[in-house]
């Protein structure tokens, strides 16, 4: 297994005590921590180069613009897009999905059309489609989740073939189950039927190699804050041909071609979808995060996450009354585990763990329908990233044993 423990030194936040114990941060699926290199990039930007982009001709503005657009090209390469023009900067996954659900859906959905989604989507890739369907008179149909936490692929195919399906949306890696969906296969089926596809990569990018052209999706979304980048920045990838047919979204500076009081004309993508001053420092920070991750190697990070989660799943079996959602080992999964404990509600368990220095998350993880599917109100979740260690996983299991004693 790749040893990344020396990388912990890059993360200032990890070296603190919580409740008299060393902090063990197991909530990276909610938001990752930031390495010194990313924080430094922000500071450098604000101390040397800060200015508004695109509209200036002075030195700082030129520097800011150059760095900003360089990150667009970097992101394109990072996710295997054909061109930097296919990379739209957003606040995060949620905004990316909503952009598509508003612009694409309003333009292409007709009453009676069908959107196919799944039973394991994050609210951010679920509610926007419910709202879009309501607006357009379309219907959302859901692919069931099987007991082992995988999608019912036969049902998915059948739904696609029912006709009237215009869009398929699917999470790449589930934030509650860990399930890695076969998105390339699913998108191939959809493409063959002329169905547009969106993949929610919030838990995939930065954890495993992602190549949007290999996946063959039309849209792909992710958040910077989950992959060592600052909060407030994310990416919507859109295939050039699809973006070319979409009307504008927000009106404002940057996205216009020419404005008169009688009406206006608009630029092409990506500018067309980026009205107003963007989160320039956020973009610079995203670039630094990608550099950081690629400096380690996404394959290495992936292998480390796999080792860690598989070992943890084994150890969790020793905890009485503990039930893990999602694919049983040794099936590959995202480096996270959500579980319920017979004797303790997630709130109580997370509170307990917190007093031992562990940062877990408890609740529905923004997947209420999935929780209902598995008959739980919520679960507790431990999620790993490159800075977590086997020792930390061991400590998690130890604290869970203690919690069982405390609450039984």
């Amino acid at each position: 297994m790749p040893d990344l423990s020396h990388r912990r030194a890059d993360f200032p936040i990890l070296h603190q005590q919580v409740g008299g114990h060393p902090l063990i941060y197991l909530d990276s699926a909610a938001s990752s921590q930031k390495p010194r290199q990313v924080i430094d990039a922000l500071v450098r930007y604000y101390e040397r180069d800060n200015a508004n982009v695109h509209r200036g001709l002075h030195e700082l503005s030129n520097r800011a613009t150059e760095q900003f657009e360089a990150v667009r090209a970097k992101v394109a390469r990072f996710i295997g897009a054909a061109s930097a023009d296919e990379v739209i900067f957003t606040r995060g996954t949620t905004e990316g999905v909503n952009l598509v659900a508003q612009v694409w859906a309003s333009h292409f959905l007709r009453p009676g059309d069908v959107i196919v989604s799944t039973g394991m989507e994050h609210h951010s890739n679920l509610v926007p489609w419910q709202l879009a369907a309501e607006r357009c008179g379309a219907v959302v149909k859901y692919v069931p989740v099987l007991e082992d936490g995988t999608l019912d692929l036969a049902a998915l195919r059948a739904l696609l073939e029912e006709g009237s399906v215009k869009l398929l949306t699917c999470v790449h890696v589930s934030n509650s189950l860990g399930t890695i969906n076969p998105v390339a296969q699913i998108c191939a089926w959809a493409r063959a039927l002329g169905i547009t596809t969106l993949v929610d990569g919030a838990q995939a990018v930065g954890h495993m190699p992602v190549d949007v052209q290999a996946i063959g999706c039309d849209f792909y979304v992710f958040s910077g804050h989950k992959i060592c980048a600052p909060t407030g920045i994310g990416v919507l990838y859109g295939r050039a041909e699809v973006l070319a047919n979409m009307p504008p979204w927000h009106g404002g500076g940057e996205m216009i071609d020419s404005v008169t009081l009688e009406g206006s004309t608009y630029k092409q993508a990506p500018a067309r979808f980026e009205a107003g001053t963007p989160d320039i420092a956020g973009v610079i920070g995203l670039g630094a995060a990608i550099d950081y991750l690629e400096g380690i190697g996404i394959e290495v990070i992936h292998a480390h996450g796999q080792e860690l989660i598989q070992a943890t799943l084994q150890k969790l079996q020793t905890v009485p009354g503990l039930r893990v959602l999602g694919p049983p080992p040794p099936v590959q999964r995202g480096s996270l585990a959500a579980f319920s404990l017979a004797c303790a509600h997630p709130h109580d368990l997370v509170e307990y763990a917190n007093t031992k220095g562990l940062a877990l998350r408890g609740g529905h993880h923004c997947t209420q329908p999935l929780m209902r599917r598995f008959g739980v109100v919520g679960t507790s979740r431990a999620s790993f990233y490159l800075y977590n260690t086997h020792a930390e996983a061991d400590r998690l299991v130890e604290v869970l044993h203690q919690a069982v004693k405390f609450f039984s």
Binding site: G19, G20, H21, A344, H345, P346, H347, D348, E351, Y352, T355, K356, G362, G363, H364, Q368, M371, V377, G378, F406, F407
Partner: protein
């Protein structure tokens, strides 16, 4: 006992663990003069429902609850039913205000004695994120009581 265990023991006193494991007055009420309201915590999805039967003077003749939630919310609901049963609307509202003062620490508790076992929930003060858990059933009970006495929201 380590310091964090002391804090934990403050939050999870034995009476709380006991009531969370064995909640009293679970169930529903049905019939005339029965009022019902629902409390929901969107952050965690927890839900508590409260039923309450009022007598001729508006006093709480019976009270039941159902729902899922953490030890704090379950114990709080269970202890609440015991404290509210038989109370006049005025006494009930005083108790609600005092309980709120107890768990938030925002103001002084008027009648600590009336709170009785509910005093065990004072530890919540040190865990502000849990105030919503402790008050979930109370908000529902207040709503149900307002329906019963039809005099709007008490404050």
């Amino acid at each position: 006992m380590a310091a964090e265990d002391a804090a934990l023991r403050d939050l999870y006193q034995q009476v709380i663990l006991d009531h969370s494991r064995h909640p009293r007055n679970q169930g529903r009420l049905d019939g005339p003069d029965c009022h019902h309201a629902r409390g929901h915590n969107p952050a965690c999805g927890d839900e508590v429902e409260v039923w309450l039967k009022t007598g001729p003077q508006g006093q709480i003749e019976d009270i039941r609850f159902e729902g899922q939630g953490c030890a704090i919310s379950q114990a709080s609901a269970s202890l609440m039913t015991l404290a509210l049963k038989g109370a006049s609307p005025e006494a009930a509202r005083r108790l609600m205000a005092d309980f709120h003062a107890l768990v938030t620490g925002a103001s002084a508790v008027g009648d600590a004695e009336a709170l009785g076992n509910l005093l065990a929930l004072e530890g919540v003060q040190k865990f502000p994120q849990r105030i919503k858990c402790a008050t979930l059933a109370w908000h529902a009970a207040e709503q149900a009581l307002n329906q019963g006495t039809q005099n709007g929201r008490s404050s």
